[in-house]
Subunit: 206 residues, 2 copies
């Protein structure tokens, strides 16, 4: 019990504090902000949350969130149909889309294999990925999963499933971030960026 | 437009990003968290917000938020009736209550005088404070407003209004925080804590 002299306020603080990265103090600040304002921010937030929960769908092809049965990316005729980028979740799609460097489509696994959290291959959208590779005219699968033990395990699991299916399996480049000093880079990243060096000409903009 | 492939998600992100200290990235993380979970966190948050906005009241005496017409503190017979602590907003009440050192009641101004933001004395709960001093059996008014230009202006304004009303007007002590080194304290605070020095015996716990 927080004892903010109002159980109604307590309840809102409790709910906010369930969100990731929001502690009790921040939750209280948010709740009081929504309470104090003459505006109807609290109602707008509440209504948009309920509307999202009730109406949002997941694309039947790539599992991206969508307002329709098929998401904007999958239904866009300008996107290359032959390349699929496999990602962990929706945030990764947003991050890649923000670069404007990728014109193919996506496949969202909805997680990665993690025995610690009890997530196995069957909990992820892997069967639908294999079905797409068989059914659609896919030429390349780009694995863009995290470089953690779980991510690497998932990438390797997918590679074993896909390698006999006559598609190219690639993975996004890892290396020193652009603008970063070499001396501050971690050894694993620096080591890998030396091993995976590229012909200089390929990095020059034409 | 954020273009997260779902206008429903966009809307929730927009609403979260209106909250203080929540940027677009955090808003997106919160929205996706509420979207992904199998739980009904989104509905609980939405419902508690609507309930709070519709049902919360402000205590008719001290203006604290409350579920009843009179708040828990004002209606508590164990609280001293003769002392009122004047604070800027509800958060200050919570902070003081957490110390368990104050047994009087409160009066919440709902802000401080700030010509920059167009807040004058008439926008604050000052008239009701003066009425309480006259009507109730108040012996002491403790000013616990911020030590900013606006806070000091408000304190001085209140002092001028109250000084002829036969109550003691006091203000909370400012000084070096307990546990802080003197060398790191700012000069104003250190200077004031020397000017406002206390008899040593009064600080010894008995």
């Amino acid at each position: 019990m927080n004892n903010y002299s109002s159980k109604l306020l307590d309840q809102v603080v409790e709910e906010f504090a369930k969100l990731p990265g929001i502690g009790k103090k921040t939750a209280l600040r948010l709740a009081l902000h929504l309470l104090h304002k003459d505006s109807n921010d609290a109602e707008s937030l509440a209504n948009s949350l309920i509307k999202m929960k009730n109406e949002v769908q997941f694309c039947k092809f790539c599992h991206n969130i969508s307002d329709e049965e098929v998401c904007e990316i999958c239904s866009n005729p300008k996107r290359e149909k032959s390349v699929l980028c496999v990602v962990e979740d929706i945030r990764d799609v947003i991050a890649i889309e923000n670069t404007s460097q990728y014109r193919g489509r996506y496949h969202i696994l909805g997680g990665i294999i993690s025995p610690m959290e009890g997530i196995g291959p069957d909990d992820l959208n892997i069967r639908s990925l294999l079905a797409r590779i068989t059914d659609e005219d896919i030429e390349e699968i780009i694995l863009a999963l995290p470089t953690t033990i779980e991510g690497d395990t998932t990438s390797f699991y997918l590679y074993k499933q896909i390698r006999d299916l006559e598609v190219i399996v690639s993975t996004i480049a890892r290396g020193i971030s652009i603008g970063d000093d070499l001396e501050y880079a971690d050894e694993v990243t620096l080591g890998r960026s030396i091993l995976n060096r590229l012909p200089y000409e390929s990095t020059i903009k034409k």
